[in-house]
């Protein structure tokens, strides 16, 4: 392999590089193959392992099966279920309800009410009867100088009837959410609000338009409002007699908000029906949450699924099973209990905080940070790999020829 070195030679036809021994070629190929083997067998799994989120396996099939519809529990076919469905004003079922009774007045009077006695007479009998369905806490408050929200037109004086008329469109904004302290109670469970509004003397009597002097209404899944028009001089304290019509309204509103059917005969019968509808609605709600969770995990591949969620799903599935069995056997209390357990478990699992954290850390982000490493390493690896592959194919072709 001697090459005379001079300008003349260079100008002439360049000599081909010397042939390589097959041993050298194969050594090179082995080297490239081992690099690729390390990358595929070690690097890639390592990358996936360190950048992936933990996803516990969920029984997606059974979850979807429950979510499919009403026929699952074979509940609706059974003739014993009351036909009237739940009214939409009712709250969703909860193991604890907080009841807040508030007296609001734009004036400084009345500043006191006989609420404790009124509650004992009109509200506590109802909550005691329902105590094995849900727990109730009761709070009361007096709020003076409560003004209307500026977003509503406010009452208009009707000279013909000498009434102050509140338009129906104003009922929606009657509760001045920004200023009236009606924050929900602390602790688990929803808060039902019952607002007794005593209008100022100069705006009395206050009635709702187009309802035949009605003075009370309900707000969807929030509570009830009643207006108490005082007769004569405003008294500093509302007596039991003053409050009787309002408290009856509140008791009725409470029954409706709890979903107690109004046309099911005796009170015990009504409570029984309430339990049935509650159990069924809880099963339905838990099933639909199961379905939602299943769809969520399929749709968002990047979110983590901790083991607690998987455990909660298992618990829900078994609770729903038991609730269904109990329903078919007519054991309402057991059914309600299991349905409650299942629904609570799946609700907690669905709002598991650690599932949300990872959503905003997409794959592109992970790769982008390591581009300065991956880029310069990938280019020679891929180029030499391709080149060697091509030369190997050419060599084979040549051999075949």
């Amino acid at each position: 392999m001697e090459h005379p070195v001079s300008n003349d030679v260079k100008r002439a036809e360049a000599p081909a590089p010397p042939a390589q021994s097959p041993q050298v070629t194969w050594t090179r190929r082995w080297i490239i193959m081992s690099f690729w083997a390390i990358i595929v067998c070690f690097g890639l799994p390592h990358w996936l392992l360190t950048t992936s989120t933990y996803r516990a396996t969920l029984p997606l099939d059974s979850m979807d099966w429950w979510a499919q519809g009403d026929q699952v529990c074979a509940v609706d076919e059974a003739g014993w279920l009351p036909q009237h469905s739940e009214n939409e004003k009712a709250f969703r079922y909860a193991s604890t309800y907080h009841l807040t009774f508030s007296l609001f007045t734009p004036a400084a009077m009345p500043a006191d009410w006989s609420i404790e006695e009124a509650l004992n007479q009109y509200v506590r009998p109802l909550t005691t009867a329902l105590s094995n369905v849900s727990d109730f806490t009761i709070e009361t408050q007096v709020q003076l100088h409560a003004s209307f929200s500026p977003s509503i037109a406010g009452p208009q004086f009707d000279a013909a009837t000498r009434d102050w008329i509140l338009q129906k469109s104003d009922l929606r904004g009657f509760i001045n959410a920004a200023e009236w302290p009606l924050s929900p109670s602390i602790g688990a469970g929803p808060t039902m609000n019952f607002v007794l509004y005593v209008p100022a003397l100069e705006q009395t009597p206050l009635v709702i338009a187009e309802t035949g002097r009605s003075t009370s209404w309900m707000i969807l899944q929030w509570g009830g409002v009643a207006i108490l028009n005082q007769v004569g001089e405003p008294s500093p304290k509302l007596t039991m007699a003053d409050m009787e019509p309002v408290m009856l309204t509140f008791a009725e509103q409470l029954a409706t908000l709890l979903g107690l059917p109004s046309d099911a005969g005796s009170f015990d019968n009504r409570v029984l029906h309430l339990k049935q509808t509650r159990a069924v609605s809880l099963i339905k709600s838990a099933s639909s949450t199961l379905g939602a969770l299943s769809r969520l995990t399929l749709k968002l591949k990047a979110i983590a699924i901790p083991d607690t969620v998987a455990a909660a799903v298992d618990k829900t599935l078994s609770s729903l099973e038991q609730a269904c069995n109990a329903l078919q056997l007519g054991k309402w209390d057991t059914a309600l209990h299991h349905a409650r357990t299942g629904n609570d478990a799946i609700e907690t699992a669905f709002f598991e905080p650690s599932m949300v954290g990872q959503v905003y850390f997409p794959d592109e982000h992970k790769v982008a940070v390591y581009v300065p490493l991956l880029g310069p390493m990938a280019v020679p690896l891929i180029m030499t790999g391709l080149k060697e592959f091509r030369s190997w194919r050419q060599a084979r072709k040549a051999k075949a020829d």
Binding site: V5, K10, R11, Q141, S185, P372
Partner: protein, 661 residues
């Protein structure tokens, strides 16, 4: 002493009255003191009580429901919450209002007695529930008061309430501070919502965020405590809300639609005609004598609307009910509109009662007074300042100076909450004193005997340091308390977005024991120093990415070299097979040579060699050519250039290793 009695009135009066109160009560009043001639102190006080049975049954009337349910949920029997902004200027304004018992350090301060049942963990859970719910209620970042900002003081605070202790019930005191919270309007609105009249009637209608937070010093407090009379009468729960402000009269009286300070029109300026240069075109403004003119409606932006008299009037008490008290010299003229006025027995304090009407607008106005309005204000118990000393990013020192101006010794308790990243060296703690009258500054200060020290060391990222020291300051002397500390280095993610601003260190709380004789525990007064800013070493926050990129590049470089050494084949330059580009490159070079005309021959020769070496040769030849062209000897230079390139080629060749063998 009259003044101090009045300022302490809300607490003392109620303690006396409560045994006789059977029904829930509410009262409010406003105390006004012009401080020097420029400033006005206004102290709002709102107190409501409820019986313990109504409180337990969750029947709220004047006691705010939102606060009541939080306290019951977290099982707190006594609560003290403070929001503060600005600095009380002791040198000119004298002693603090309410003996400093209703004010907090800059930011938010909270302490509460919580039911200790269930052990430390249960208490911490209740404390966490308390701060989180209060955070929501007051729109403040109270939820950031976690373990690292909570301490358990031993000496500094006493329970203000009286409760009948039932067997086995134990209360635990927890204290948290949030020095970096900026108190603002969003904290005042929920404060007003807790009041029965909600800022719509009575003196609370004066509380307007624009004025209150434009004050030089401002503090809001909420104190809940149980009061059990000595007799068998029912216990009461009392909530006292106070808002104290010191307003700059001139600034707060600027009209709202034109808040920019402007020079007065020349016609309104009173000129000093005694100056010799006074003339038609020059005016030397006369210094205003006496007290400034002011009125409530101008200072607070609106007059008092209506009144908030909610309590059932008992004939016996009715004459003690007043809404506003004003402390000015008796010879001053005060015009009150729509208010009943009366004087206290010694003519020092004027009392005003608002009319019962709901919409009546009442106002107080003081015309310009020729006598100075400022009376000698009582001296504070102590003057206290605190600074950080030292330099550098690693170490520093704390330096507190407490000056006792009185001719008697005072026993004090000094409390500090330090964040864990400030690590004090307790062995360097020195407390010594020097008499104020000492002229010789080089005289050795005398050590002060430390009667008690309660110290809880910090645990990194989970607990704050507490230093509580009890000692006596000798009469008319200055005590210096110093210690050294080390600054910890935080983790990258622990820095706030404004890391270079520094970290707030909560105010030191100084309790002066029984400075007012005969009042016992009630006579204690509190003083808080200003909060401090601690600069910590801050990293460059793009650092992690720089590190990743740099390391990645180094690794990729190393990988590339090794990989190439392993898989590349080494051949002679001439043996490199010509790629598809080589022909193109040669043609471009020929074209370039032609562009340069006759002088292109050698360039073409150089370019013909091909490869990287060829390009380098052409470059050097070009340079040589340009130099030579200046001399007018182009041809010779061209040859030199070619020869030089060949020489390079030779050297390059001998260096090539023959790996193939």
């Amino acid at each position: 002493m009259k003044l101090s009695f009045l300022l302490a009135l809300p607490t003392t009066l109620l303690t006396l009255l409560t045994p006789t109160l059977a029904s829930p009560e509410y009262n409010e009043h406003l105390h006004l003191i012009p401080l020097s001639n420029e400033y006005l102190y206004a102290g709002f006080n709102f107190t409501s009580t409820t019986s313990q049975s109504a409180y337990r049954a969750n029947n709220y009337r004047y006691f705010p429901r939102s606060l009541g349910q939080i306290l019951q949920y977290s099982r707190a029997s006594e609560l003290h919450l403070r929001f503060a902004l600005g600095r009380w200027d002791e040198e000119t304004w004298g002693a603090r209002p309410r003996h400093g018992r209703r004010e907090g350090g800059t930011g938010v301060e909270l302490w509460a007695w919580i039911d200790a049942e269930g052990g430390t963990e249960a208490v911490e859970e209740r404390w966490s529930a308390l701060v989180n719910s209060l955070s929501g209620l007051f729109c403040a970042s109270l939820n950031f008061i976690d373990g690292t900002k909570t301490i358990r003081p031993v000496l500094s605070f006493d329970s203000e309430g009286t409760s009948r202790s039932t067997a086995g019930s134990k209360q635990l005191l927890l204290h948290g501070t949030l020095a970096n919270e900026v108190v603002c309007t969003e904290n005042l609105t929920p404060f007003l919502k807790l009041l029965p009249c909600k800022g719509k009637a009575g003196i609370s209608s004066l509380l307007d965020g624009h004025k209150v937070f434009d004050a030089n010093w401002q503090t809001m407090s909420i104190d809940v405590r149980p009061i059990c009379p000595a007799s068998d009468a029912e216990c009461m729960i009392e909530v006292q809300q106070t808002a104290d402000v010191v307003l700059d009269l001139e600034r707060s009286m600027r009209p709202r639609d034109d808040p920019i300070p402007r020079p007065q029109p020349i016609a309104e300026i009173e000129c000093d005609e005694g100056k010799h240069y006074h003339g038609g075109d020059t005016c030397y403004p006369k210094r205003k004598q006496g007290a400034k003119r002011w009125s409530l409606s101008k200072v607070f932006g609106s007059p008092v609307i209506g009144s908030c008299h909610l309590s059932e009037r008992n004939d016996g008490e009715a004459e003690e009910k007043w809404d506003i008290s004003l402390e000015v010299p008796s010879e001053h003229i005060v015009e009150a509109s729509a208010m009943q006025d009366s004087l206290t027995s010694d003519d020092q304090i004027r009392l005003y009662r608002l009319s019962e009407s709901r919409t009546q607008r009442s106002d107080l106005s003081l015309p310009h007074q020729y006598e100075s309005g400022s009376r000698l204000r009582p001296q504070p118990a102590l003057y206290a300042t605190r600074q950080i000393t030292g330099h550098g990013q690693e170490r520093g020192g704390m330096h507190a100076v407490l000056r006792n101006p009185h001719p008697y010794a005072q026993q004090i308790i000094y409390l500090e909450t330090l964040p864990w990243f400030l690590r004090p060296y307790m062995h360097t703690l020195k407390v010594n004193h020097r008499f104020n009258s000492t002229e010789d500054k080089s005289a050795r200060p005398v050590d002060v005997f430390l009667e008690k020290i309660f110290y809880t060391p910090a645990i990194d990222r989970s607990r704050a340091t507490k230093v509580e020291v009890m000692f006596t300051i000798p009469p008319e002397s200055t005590v210096e308390l110093t210690y050294d500390f080390e600054k910890a280095v935080l983790r990258y993610t622990e820095y706030p977005p404004d890391a270079n601003r520094g970290f707030d260190i909560a105010a030191a709380v100084i309790r002066v024991l029984g400075s007012i004789k005969g009042l016992g525990r009630e006579g204690d007064s509190y003083i808080r120093t200003t909060s401090l800013l601690l600069p910590l070493p801050t990293p460059d926050f793009s650092m992690p990415y720089n590190v990743i990129i740099l390391t990645s590049t180094v690794i990729a470089l190393g990988f590339g070299s090794i990989f190439n050494l392993l898989v590349r084949r080494f051949v002679l330059v001439e043996e490199i097979p010509k790629g598809p580009l080589a022909g193109l490159v040669a043609r471009v070079k020929v074209g370039l040579g032609k562009l340069r005309g006759g002088k292109g021959e050698w360039a073409e020769g150089a370019g013909g060699a091909g490869g990287a070496g060829g390009a380098g040769g052409a470059g050097s030849a070009n340079r040589a050519h340009e130099d030579a062209a200046a001399d007018g000897e182009a041809r010779r230079a061209g040859q030199t250039g070619v020869n030089g390139r060949v020489g390079e080629g030779k050297d390059g060749l001998t260096n090539v290793e023959r790996k193939d063998r």
